[in-house]
Every structure is written in C-alpha cells, then in structure tokens.
Symmetry: C2
Subunit: 660 residues, 2 copies
C-alpha cells in the first residue's frame, strides 16, 4: 500500500531567495538522531530545490551549520536558528534539539520565510507532547476514520518505511511520545509485555528514539490475571505486586528506552482497582512502584464513570465522575504517575466546559487529553479544524489563585506547583494513503503538534504553515483553505447539538444526528428536552457540578443569567423562550444556527470547488466527496434538530423556514 508524505511532501519551492543556503551542511556531531536530521535535510533540499546538499567536514563558505551548545534556557529540546554571514546556524543542547531545528528550518523554507534576518529561538513549553493511538492488534482502529492501523496487522507488529515516515511526521512537529495501542487492551494486546512481542517492540522503540519519540504502551490492568495466572489483580496483594515487579524487570531488559504505560482502568467495562475495593491511587501506585527503577512512567486515565446510569435519575451526573473519583486523591499518587484528564467532563464534544480538575489538582502530576480523531466532531468526513477549540481551552482561566492561571500555564508547569506535565491527543491517523482520511483533517494532526510545542501560536498561523507545506503557497489556495479551516469548527457547532448540550448523535457509531439517541440510555449523556425547555441543571439545585470550579467560574456557571450562551444548556435547564445574551430565545437560536450551519456547509463546498484547478485531481476529488457528504450530513442535522424541537415545543420558526 502506498502513502503520501502529508506536510513533509517538500514541494518544489521556486524563486526562494534563500535557496542558496541549501548547498552545504557542516556538523561535527554524529549519531542516529543527527543522521536522521541530515537525511531529512538532504531529502528536502533535493525535492524543494532540485539539488543535492553536501555534508562538509569543514565550515563551508555558505551553508547550514548544526552545532551542539550548552545553554540552559534551551532545555533538552529547544533550539536556535540564526544567520551569521553566509551561514545559518542551528544550535541546541541535544541532538534532538538539532533535529527539531532542521524541521523548523525546512518549514521556514517551505513557507518562503526570508532567512536574512532569521533569529528564531524555540523551546517547547510542555514537557509531554503525546499521541494516543487506539489501534488494535487485528489492524482495526477504535474510532478510527482513516483506514486500518499501520502498526498492527493480523495480530503482528509492523515496523517498516511507513512507521519511519510516521516518526518523521511526529518529530517534524515536536511530538515526543506516543502510545501505539488501544487503551482498551483486548485479546492479544495483553501479551505485549511477554517476550515475543517485547523483541519486536524494541525495534520500534529504537526507531522512534532516533526521531526523539518515546514509545509508551497501553497496559491491561488485569494482565496479572490474564497472563500471570494469578486469581486477583488487587493492587495491595503481595503476589500481584511481585508479579508486576518481575514483569517490569523483564520489560525493561528488552526495551530499556520504553517511556512507560498508559492505563485505562475501571472504565467502560475495563478492570481496575475498584473491583477490589481499592482506590485509583492504589492501582496506579502499585504499577508505578514496579516501574520506578527504570525511570518508567504510569499514565493513568481519569475517564472513570458509571456507564450503567439510570436515565430516570436526575441527581447522578456523569460530568462529576472524574472529579469525584480523583479530587480527594490529590497528593496520593507517586511522582512517576501522571493523570491523563480529558479536556472536558463528558467526552470530546464540540463544546464542553473544561474539566474542573484543572486548577484544582495541586499535588498530582497531570496532563490534558484532547481528541483529534473527531469521534463526535465529524469523523474526518465533516471538516472540523479543532485547533481554535484547543486554543480556547488553553487560554481558559482556571482561577487556581496564582498569577498565571490558564490551562496552558498549568500544562506548561507554570502554576499549581508545576504539576502540569503536558498534552495528549487521541490520534487521527490510519493507513489511508493520505494518513487522515480527509486530506484537510491532517491539519488537526499538524496543528496539535505545533500547539503542543507552543501554546502561544495562533490557529491561523499554524494552518497557513500547514497549507503551504501540504498544498501550495499560492495566495488563493492559502486564503481559501485558511478560511475553510478556520470557519469549520464554529460551523460544525452550529449544525449539531446546540448550546453545549452535547451528544444527540447516533448511538454506537457516533456519526450523524439522533436527538434522543442517548436520552433514555445508561450512558449518562442527556439533554432532558421536554415540551417546555431543555438542558441539564448542573447548578446547586441540580447536580451541583458547576460548584466544582474555582469560585469566579463556579459563580458564573451557577446562574443561567451569567453562564456563557455557548454552555447554557450544559449547565442549565431553561425554557425555550429563555433570552440568550445575544437577544434571541433559545429556540429561535437553535433554528437560526441550524439553518445557518447547513447553509455555511454549502458555502464550504463551493469554496472547495473554487480550488479545483489548484489542487491535484486525486486530492481534489476525494476531498470533494467528503464535502458532499458533509453537506448531506449538515442538512440531516439541521432538519432533524429543527423538526425535533418544533414538534416538541409547538413553537414556530419566526422566519417560517421549512421544518418538518
């Protein structure tokens, strides 16, 4: 199966005044990472400028110099790019830093940024910049919308040219860690920590290391039962403890560079410490102790909730679950445990408040988990560029009581006792030739990495970089695609579940509208619409969820009057004629946004059609089909949502548009 090179396509760059620097490279360093950096420079120079770049052993007249330096402020991954006379100097404390510098330089060249005044100092602001793949050993991908896995096929691990290209893509945007297998560890994947698999994983880990990427694995918490043959997985049981100690020793004998393990326990049917009446810290710490001698890390997912809820019960609230389970355990986790917390309290919706654990946990390492796989945001059929949404999250204030208090500050370790450790995305790749199914969905992959590196980047500048590298630096292409991508998230929000209420999707596949799809189910995701109004009361009169936030936010969310419109139905059950801050009634807002959203998708389709001559026919056609699907999908959402509320409320649209 063939594949493309995404944003590392290195299209021919014409009329670039600084092409002449790409004649010679000079470096004294050697090693696997440096080799890969030089190989990348050579490949890119060849493709972008049609010439071979020479590796010099002495300083050239004109060219690129890679140098290791010692400069604390650059940290273990930062770099500098400067011009001195006819030389471009890339410098860093580590080989990894130099690799990042090379990719940065190539990005500048692809975007035709002048190098004459270049003085770029870049240090990643987050320690962990990580991907989570939900790939299964049989080659399927849970919530995967880009074909099958390129890591696994027929229960075997694959390491090949594509895996290498994957590592290059990660390195090019600064991603430094990845979990290759599904957090739901089923069947054969449990056996990853046995010898036959460990040998293969070592090869993969070495490849990743040569691109500065740490390999992590998802772990089956009950492996001591499933492969150890022990009858319990009680984290305080001595047999269990020593089984894990021995197992970790074996694992690290084979893969000394393994980053550690990701664990989803006690969630959606997965086993965990609750089974043995232990708490989440007992479970995580037991594994953390076993892995500590090898500097390994246990990443513990906080996606724990009761998935057998009775829809009749309006006092139980899934949104509270992670907070309720983990807040009281703050400080109970060992130093090599990192909690992985979803951005919102429900599940990767198009709009949610941030999880209230952020800004509340003060003594526990933690990271934020987002999802670029678009499970609930169009599944890489509907365009939804998520970086503006992540940017909003990152700039949200947590009111943790410190000077710096945004989520970005937190994840960068600037507040809450430096307990924020980074950011993680559920990946959106597969073995489709374009990696992400929808060509434009690769912007989420790229954008996640860039924003993980530097929260201060704007979604718009990221997208422009990505377009220039992926498609073309032609003004029209950059303009139209930037507009398309930047409008896509707000448009998706308009035509789907309104005002933060979430879900309303088809059960199990999560694509397409089904307003009552989860309303009478055990999953805890309700909208509570009746004849008079809609929304979930999470004030103190309801589930009390709003009060979990730090004071200024708790107060703001507590009352419908002060709650931001876009989250109103998440926090409050209001009448359809409740007036929003925008002056419209809730119901008229629903009608208006849905008609508008569907219409905007028509526009998006036309915008794509404008680009017909500027995009390769293959990419154009396969993307066109997706825009057409999105148009149909948006129409279904619009008509079903509007008809549903019209039928339920009996209140007509003020503008008498067609509702059924």
């Amino acid at each position: 199966m063939s594949w493309e090179q995404a944003w590392l396509a290195y299209h021919c760059v014409v009329n670039y005044e600084d092409a002449s620097y790409f004649e010679a490279i000079y470096t004294l360093e050697s090693g696997k990472i440096i080799d890969n950096a030089l190989e990348e420079l050579r490949l890119a120079t060849n493709k972008m400028f049609g010439k071979s770049i020479a590796i010099e052993r002495s300083m050239p007249q004109k060219g690129i110099c890679l140098m290791l330096i010692e400069e604390i402020s650059l940290n273990e991954a930062g770099y500098k790019i400067e011009r001195k006379n006819n030389l471009i100097f890339l410098s860093a404390n580590t080989q990894k830093g130099l690799l990042y510098a090379v990719f940065a330089l190539l990005r500048l060249a692809a975007c035709k940024v002048s190098l004459s005044d270049v003085h770029l100092v870049s240090v990643p602001d987050k320690e962990f910049r990580m991907l989570n793949h939900w790939d299964n050993m049989d080659g399927s991908i849970e919530r995967g919308y880009s074909g099958n896995s390129f890591f696994f096929k027929d229960q075997k691990i694959e390491v090949n040219e594509r895996t290498k290209d994957y590592a290059r893509l990660l390195a090019s945007i600064g991603i430094n860690a990845t979990v290759i297998n599904n957090v739901n560890v089923r069947a054969e994947a449990t056996d990853f920590i046995t010898e036959p698999y460990l040998k293969q994983l070592r090869v993969l880990s070495d490849l990743f290391e040569s691109y500065g990427v740490k390999l992590f694995l998802s772990l089956n918490y009950a492996a001591c039962i499933d492969i150890g043959g022990i009858t319990t997985a009680d984290p305080l049981d001595k047999t269990v403890i020593s089984w894990w100690e021995e197992r970790m020793e074996l694992v690290y004998q084979h893969i000394p560079t393994l980053g550690g393990f990701l664990v989803k326990a006690d969630s959606e049917g997965r086993p965990g410490p609750f089974t043995y009446k232990r708490n989440q810290a007992d479970g995580a710490n037991m594994l953390a102790r076993a892995i500590a001698p090898y500097q390994g890390i246990i990443i513990w997912r906080c996606f724990v909730y009761n998935c057998q809820q009775d829809w009749r019960d309006k006092k139980i609230d899934r949104a509270r679950a992670a907070y309720d389970y983990f807040y009281d355990l703050d400080g109970e986790f060992l130093e090599n445990v990192i909690l992985q917390i979803k951005n919102g309290p429900i599940d990767f919706q198009v709009r949610e408040p941030f999880m209230p654990l952020f800004g509340k946990l003060k003594k526990t390492n933690h990271m934020m988990e987002v999802q670029i796989a678009q499970e609930y945001t169009g599944q890489q059929i509907d365009l939804c560029y998520l970086i503006p949404w992540f940017k909003e999250l990152l700039t949200s204030r947590t009111y943790c009581g410190e000077d710096k208090d945004t989520i970005a500050d937190l994840l960068e370790g600037k507040c809450c006792n430096h307990k924020g450790r980074g950011i993680v995305a559920v990946a959106n790749t597969g073995n489709d030739e374009n990696w992400t199914g929808h060509d434009l969905a690769a912007a989420n992959f790229y954008g996640f990495g860039r924003m993980a590196w530097d929260s201060k980047l704007s979604p718009e500048e990221i997208v422009k970089e990505w377009i220039s590298q992926t498609f073309s630096d032609k003004r029209e292409v950059v303009m139209v695609l930037t507009k398309l991508l930047m409008m896509s998230w707000p448009v998706y929000e308009k035509y789907t579940a309104p005002l933060g209420v979430g879900f309303m999707v088809t059960p199990s596949n999560h694509y397409g509208p089904n307003i009552d799809g989860y309303e009478y189910s055990k999953w805890g995701t309700y909208h509570r619409a009746d004849h008079f109004g809609i929304g979930v009361d999470r004030s103190l009169k309801g589930t009390g969820y709003a009060s979990l936030y730090n004071p200024p936010l708790a107060m703001q969310y507590e009352y419908a009057d002060t709650c931001p419109d876009e989250l109103l139905l998440f926090f409050h059950h209001v009448d359809y004629n409740h007036i929003l801050h925008n002056g419209k009634t809730v119901l008229q807002h629903i009608y208006d946004t849905h008609f508008e959203g569907a219409k905007k998708v028509e526009e998006m389709l036309s915008m794509w059609e404008q680009l017909k001559e500027s995009i390769s026919p293959e990419k154009y056609e396969r993307t066109l089909i997706r825009f057409q699907q999105q148009r149909n999908n948006a129409k279904e959402w619009c008509d079903q949502i509007n008809s549903y509320f019209y039928r339920k409320s009996g209140i007509a649209d003020q503008h008498q548009r067609p509702i059924y």
Copy 2:
C-alpha cells in the same frame, strides 16, 4: 451439541385407560414414510407407556391398524381415526396421511383423550403449510434468536439426527414444505444451484420427503450473473432465459423432488427485474417457465418497497408499496407462481391491518406470510404467543364480495377464484437445545403448524395440547401456562408502540424501545408525533392507503371515528386528547396501557415462579431468566414511552404515576 425433543418428548403417561391399544400395530403398507410412522409409534409407546409395540402381519386382537383407503374427501393428506371393537383404525389416501394420523393419535394419547368414542376426521384446509428459515451458510440466522443454524455450519450443509428430528417436528404438526436458507441469498448460498451443493441437498430432500415435507430453496435472482457469468439478469433477455432453463434442468436432475424456489427480488438491496425496467411478473414468470417442466413452483415475495425514503415526505407511504407494485399485475403471473404476501403492509408488527392485496387479488396464486421469529415482538426473550393474533387475521373479513370472505377462506381457496394457496411462517428455530431459545416460544412453532392445518382451531385449545405434550398434563401447569401464553400478546401490545402505530424499536437490532429510532430515517416507518398529536394520516387526505381496501373496510378505516381503536394511529394522525371508543383520550390510553402492560409482566413473572416445583430445574431457570429480562424490558418500554409523550405533549397523567 445435544438437544431436546420439544413437544415430541413423549413423557410418561400414567393412568391412561386406553394405553392398552398401544400393544400392536398392523399394516400392509411399506415404504419410507410408513417406516417413519411405525418408528414414531414404537418410540412414543416406549416412552409414554414403557412398553414395546409389536408390528403384526395379521390383524391383532387389540391394537392399531394403519390402512390406505380411497376416499376423495380426505384428499392427499387427510386422515381418519376410528375405533372398531378393540382396534383403532388410522386410514388415509396416502402414506403421508397415515403419518399425520399417527402423530394425531400420539397427540390424543399425550393429552389422555379417551379413544373409546374416537371418530376423528381431519383434512388440512390449506394446500401449503410452510416454513421459511433465514439461515445463512456461515451458520448465522438473520433475525434468529435461538442460536445458530442446524442446517448450515462453516459454509456446509448438515444432514444428521437433528435434521431428522426437525422433519419429525414438522410432520407432527402437518407442515408440508420448508425453505431452509435465508431469502437474502448472499455469498455461497448463491451456489446452491451448482453441483457440489445439489448432491448434498438431495440427501436432505430425501429425508424431508420421508416425512412428507417438500424442500424449497431461496434463490438469488442475479445468479445468472454471479455464477452464470452473464452480464445481465434482464428476465426478457434470451441468454438469461436459456441459462435458467439449463440450470433448472440440472437442478431437477439432481433433486427431482424439489418443491421449487423462493425469491426476494428488488427488496432491501436485493437485485430484481426493476433493475432492467421490467416488472415483477416478468421476473417471476421467467423463472416459472424454466421450472415448469419439473412441476416446480416459484414463490415470489411481495416485500418490495423503497427503503431510501425521505422522512420529510409525508405523501410517500411504504404501506402502499406491495399493493402498488402487485395489484395491477393481477393475472399476469403464470400458474406455477405463488405470491408470498406478508400479513401486514409494514413488517410483522405486534398490530397491523392486514395487507389489502388479500381480497383484491383474484387471478394470481398467493399465500400469506407471518413471522413466528418474533423479530418485533420480543425476540424470544419477551413471551408473545402469536397464535391469537394469527387467528384474528385469519378471521378478518376481506369483503371480497363473495359468500366466504375471511382471510382463512381465502388461504383455503374458498373465495377469490381459489387463488389462495396457504400460509407461510418465518421460522423461530435454531440449534439451541430447546430449539426456540425461550421454551415457551415453541408454542408459536407448534401453534403455527396446527393453525396452518386447521384455521378453526382455537389458540387456547392449541396451547393446551402443546403444554400437555411439552411439559405435563398436570392441571395447575396447564392452567397457569395457558393463562400466561394467552395473555402474552395483548400484554406485549400494551407496553410497546401504541394503537397500531408500530416500530419505536431500537434500529437494526429491533429489540427494546427507541421511540424516535426510525422517525428521521429512510425506512418509511414513522409515527409523526409532535406536540399536538400522533399517527400517520393514511386517509384520502393523507397517503390514501385506507382506500385500497374493499369498500366496507375502506370506509371504516378512512375516518378516525369509525376506525378501530387498536389501529387508530396506523390510519390517522389525531390529537392527544382525541377520545377513543373506550372513552379515554389517546394520551391517557397510552399512559394507562403502558403502566398496565409493565405491571402485567410482573404478574407473568410471578405466575412462572408458581411453577417452580412442576417444571424441570433447567427449563425453569432458563425461562425464569427470560421472564426477568422481559420485566426489565417492559419497564423500559413503559417508562420511555410515557416519558417521551409526557415530555412532548406537556399533558400529565391523570393518576400522577411516575413519569420522567
């Protein structure tokens, strides 16, 4: 895998005054069918009375005599049972008739009916009494709720002791034809009409013949493309015609006794004549001509409708489809074509009007298709004894303008130019040890056969026969089980979709409530509930469906005032406060029946628990679990339906019961 004997268990019969007749059998006949009849008598005598029965070559002093006679009124399958002195005479025109007589005699004995005055003359009133299995070659069963297929496993046909027991079960209730493979003929099943399979099918056909059962097969209409390699399946194309002629010759060389083929064409994605702009008669007749030389029959399903309907369009009506496609073709089908028409215009719902083609087709052979597999009526988890429903259908008047005009009359060939040919059921069996998953679901299998033989039997007498044979003739068991089974269909109707509106089930699996599950879909099954009311307008102001019936019914259904309550929402969109004939508003009726239905299921569970001491522990426990599931299911239906309508209408329950 082991299995039980269902109603042929032949439990020990104590204190039966007429056991003494079961000492000797006398017959002059021989042949495969007779051999099977004698074997059955021997087996049953042994198990019921603990003694061996002797086969005599001369008339015994006391015993049972099997005699072929010539008596036109008995037809090819009827029989007589009479006592003369110390002899019980079973007589018939055919060996098949004698086999039926033996099973009838054993039924009488199991029910301890006195033989002293026995004078039973029984002639089946319908020509075809048929089962359709939806079994796939991989062993799965479409809409099967009793395990896997016992006909197919791993793409192979199985003929073994279980297949023989299946044939015995059929013969014992008079079923004389069966289609063993899914009407959706996929993959390997297309190859049934090729030599390797034909050889195996011959063995099965011979086995069935020895129990008086004709084997039929489902046919892939496009087989001429798929295995013939022809580029078209146009029924008027000469290549197609001669391909089928040759193929039928080959088929009948191998299986001279094959009954013929069942065809689902142009339906739910299956290929058919519409693809070539031909009508349904063109397709059916082409095949019928090819099979005619061998006295074969083509059974052509009328389940043809557009499954890509736009839910926004209120003028299109799936209910009309079969009528619209087939009524105009009346008289166009060849004599060896039988149309197979579902009992109702939608799809095996708990309540539907009968299909208006009944009583309208006057020049085309046709049969009625019912479903005992309970796809929409509890899936053999919820108890739903369907024979009272079929009895209602059979006694419905079609107003075809003749003296005899019920559906039973029609299927018995007593009106409409004798074009009614019988009745067919989609089967509810699988390889579960009790054949039907739910032990009590076997009553539908048994009851279908009995009612197919004789429309005049009452559902209650059928069920009593079945209980005595299956469980015990203990008064309490018979009483409780009869009550349970007889109440089960009305109860199921109470707690599910109200007043004939249908569906409201979970999409794709069709089990459990989902009120809007199909409301905004392409499947054509809508309830059109809004804030003011509910129902589908099928009057002349709506889709005009009501007018398809013969006049008295068309008039009755046309108006909400005269439409029977139980079909009101099928034919009319009415306000929630519309007053039913029972004096209640539609909405209060919905609330009342749903609370009542859920409560009745609690009673049913208690009734079953009463029988704990009288039923074998294994049967008791496995059935108990199903009643518990049914209780939970009924509660979900009740609460979801009531909450849905309360939330939509804003109208409270008069009795303030819990609604959410």
